[in-house]
Symmetry: C2
Subunit: 502 residues, 2 copies
């Protein structure tokens, strides 16, 4: 084996180990850590992430990549793991060396503390105690973005971190194109009040039985619990410490069945992606999903295109009725299908239906741009939040817990992240269209609770590649096309015309 | 502030962060990690521990310590944190730089895998599958010890890791002095069969109620659960990720009440030590107990000298009866006190009474010496184990799960560790004698369930110092004397003469 490549891989493995250790510290902070642990945890995260950065941006790695780059594609061929690794590391190295390791460390500790403050502030509906933390996070994030000057837009480098290659102007164009059509569709649906009922989704649903049913679906989907586990957190997420250790977390609400049910399917979608990555990419840094947008396309595919479909519930609704006979015994499958797809403007993003969901994202994206440019001061953020909700969704929160404090993202420094949720929605439909073309019996399989063909297809075409290709390359390879909002909007129009008899 | 000292502290903080992160990874491996995670976890532990070592043995730290050493005691005074830090780091640096970082890393990954293999082997009573892992651990441990040549005994450097300053010859002398007296005491007690009954400790004790009662005692002792938590593991332990994040784990047995009850008190004893360390020592490496022997003296003090005393149960027995009225309603406090102190040769160390306990340790110590010297081959280890149990305790295990596989220690490379359990027993009595001299009302306080005075004394005299002094210095400062087995043997003679009317 090429000695330089071998050396490069050894160095990368060390960096990946530090990053994955940091991920574990962070997971533990959200699952089990006692409150007293927060200060030291922040310091430890700063050390691990600062060190991982320092060990990655070395001249040694830079030199190895440069030397290997010259001959890699001739030697190995574009699609090989070797050539892909060299391209991948070259891009990352070029990017990361622009940021000082001290800033990486400071962001890590600042966000670890901000996250604790956010959790408390949300619990007590107390935005003012969170505001100074958020200010620090925004300042550091701005500093981080400025390292990448020159840029067309200060927001570009932030977006690029989560969706490599994506530009602010592209997102703006995409959102502008979707916004009116979505608002129009929401209004049409709203005029049909009473067509879809969902009272039976509210009640007192035993949490142990919810958990068991959720795990039963997770296993059917193909989530391997010998290489993963489920825990409970305030904000559900998926994280991984290796291809063979991929965790999901869930938030249970005994009063509202869909919360944990679809939350579990969503996180399992992410987990299937990570568990499906080729073991050959282990500890290279390419052993993870290629971008948050593509990642989200998988969580949404399993949650919505599978989990909120009629075929899915043909198999699972009778089972769910047996788990909750009192609550759902008298409900028909069709009533249930329509209820879980009920469209109604609401305050909480993670529980929004497919139509209104993207409006929640557009609001956050617009606010982020204003915060970052300085046009919006943090004092005015809760008010601006309410204004936008009134404008786009016709509803506004009565408190900040359901408003500006509802998401964990800003506290953890994930600014530039929200747009990837909508990118994920769009891609989920584009990719699922391809699956449907390739697998004739897909709907029949799903209606029998058999997901083998679907998982196999996704693994072969998407998951196994990890981060070998750029998101744009991957989408092009699979769909033969670039990202497009039209298929998604068509999907919504069709699905909701049917449900609401528009 | 002295700029060199400040630099030194910054470097140390980074090393400590890496070590504490490794401790979290290790804790998580034993509490929640799915089986698939083992391989990557081993690699990550190797990276963290190897890196911590590499960053500690640098010439920069060596140089700083050397320069600071020259003037530290004149400048700051022997007892100050500053002078203590410099002495502490000088000793550690001198020691650690003898071992290659690669060996540290290899030991970390080898033991992480060996630990998984041990857990499985113990569960399946399958020593042969564990044997090759143990062989690797012993080989690496021997290699590690050999880095410290010349030494009087190959075992010295291993012992020194857990009990700085202690020599093999001292332990041998101490054990020889105790062994006959202990065996003699056991035989005397054995001749009084039927004097102490404990059938009522076996039954079906609801685990939730056991947990609640254990935590109630833990809180009364002073364990701060905002800065700690309890989880369940195969082998109970205490670990810490900072002074403000000190965890205990417990093993519950619904069939035998004392197991979790005294196991909890024991680990809480360790935790009180760590939680009581002065925050001024945070992230220096001195922010932990000074040696395993002194640490164990605290777990044993709370478990045995407090938890197995008559005064303790004056307060707690009525409460325990209310928790388990069916099982203990008819038992008197005196019967209960005698039952939990029943002396009987048995197979399992962690459940041994105070008299036989040290014989379990002596057996392990002797076997370790033979294994390390090569006099005992691993094929013959299970047999040698049985022989020694028959010789010293008159009992022998029918399977390896209750024999050579019962302890986690060898799998995690903790060879040289067991002797510190007995050191802890001896010191617990020496130190408790001092407490009793200083606090006139101690017994009265304990019999009212009030541990404030005791905890305060221990914090002031022992806990707060962390690793500022050597174990020998600390014992000398507190007791005015050196370690001695006589007080412990006297304590056993008195206590057991009383219980068994010898």
């Amino acid at each position: 084996m090429n000695i330089k490549l071998q050396t490069l891989k050894m160095r990368l493995a060390e960096v990946v180990d530090l990053q994955r250790s940091a991920a574990l510290l962070s997971w533990e902070q959200q699952t089990y850590m006692p409150p007293g642990g927060a200060k030291a945890r922040a310091e430890q995260l700063a050390t691990l992430q600062g060190l991982a950065h320092r060990l990655f941006i070395t001249d040694e790695i830079g030199g190895l990549v440069k030397e290997l780059s010259n001959s890699s594609e001739q030697q190995w061929g574009y699609d090989t793991n070797e050539a892909s690794l060299i391209r991948f590391v070259a891009r990352q190295h070029e990017r990361e060396r622009k940021v000082p390791s001290e800033l990486v460390a400071e962001l890590a500790s600042t966000t670890a503390l901000a996250q604790e403050a956010w959790a408390l502030a949300r619990q007590n509906d107390d935005y003012p105690t969170f505001q100074p933390h958020l200010q620090r996070v925004i300042n550091l994030t701005r500093q981080q973005a400025e390292c990448f000057a020159p840029y067309s837009h200060l927001y570009d480098p932030l977006l690029d971190k989560y969706e490599p290659g994506m530009k602010t102007s592209e997102v703006q164009k995409m959102f502008t194109g979707m916004k009116d059509e979505l608002i129009d569709l929401v209004n049409k649906i709203n005029s049909r009040t009473g067509v879809v009922k969902n009272e039976f989704l509210y009640g007192d649903f035993d949490i142990d039985r919810q958990r068991e049913f959720g795990l039963c679906i997770a296993k059917k989907f193909g989530y391997d619990l010998d290489r993963g586990r489920q825990d409970e957190t305030l904000h559900p997420f998926c994280t991984h410490f290796s291809i063979d250790d991929v965790r999901i977390t869930t938030r249970f609400d005994n009063g509202f069945l869909p919360s944990a049910l679809f939350g579990t399917m969503h996180e399992v979608g992410h987990a299937l992606y990570e568990q499906g990555i080729s073991p050959d990419l282990d500890r290279t840094g390419m052993d993870t999903g290629v971008s948050l947008g593509v990642h989200e396309s998988q969580s949404r595919l399993w949650e919505n295109l599978v989990g909120r479909s009629q075929s899915f519930w043909m198999h699972f609704f009778p089972k769910l009725q047996m788990v909750f006979p009192e609550e759902l015994g008298e409900v028909t499958q069709d009533e249930f299908y329509r209820a879980i797809n009920r469209c109604e403007p609401s305050l909480i993003r993670v529980e929004a239906d497919e139509v209104t969901y993207n409006l929640h994202i557009i609001i956050r994206f617009e606010l982020e741009l204003e915060l970052l440019s300085g046009d919006l001061h943090l004092n005015d953020l809760p008010g601006a939040w309410r204004e936008k909700y009134k404008d786009y969704l016709g509803v506004a929160p009565h408190n900040d817990a359901d408003g500006v404090l509802q998401d964990i993202h800003w506290s953890i420094g994930a600014i530039g992240y929200f747009a990837t949720y909508t990118i994920g929605n769009l891609l989920s439909v584009q990719l699922f269209d391809c699956v449907q073309t390739d697998i004739i019996d897909l709907e029949a399989d799903i209606s029998k609770g058999n997901f083998d063909s679907l998982l196999h297809w996704l693994r072969e075409n998407i998951y196994c590649h990890g981060s070998k290709f750029t998101p744009v390359e991957l989408v092009e390879r699979v769909t033969g096309d670039s990202m497009d909002s039209r298929p998604y909007l068509n999907y919504l129009q069709n699905k909701y015309s049917d449900i609401y008899n528009l």
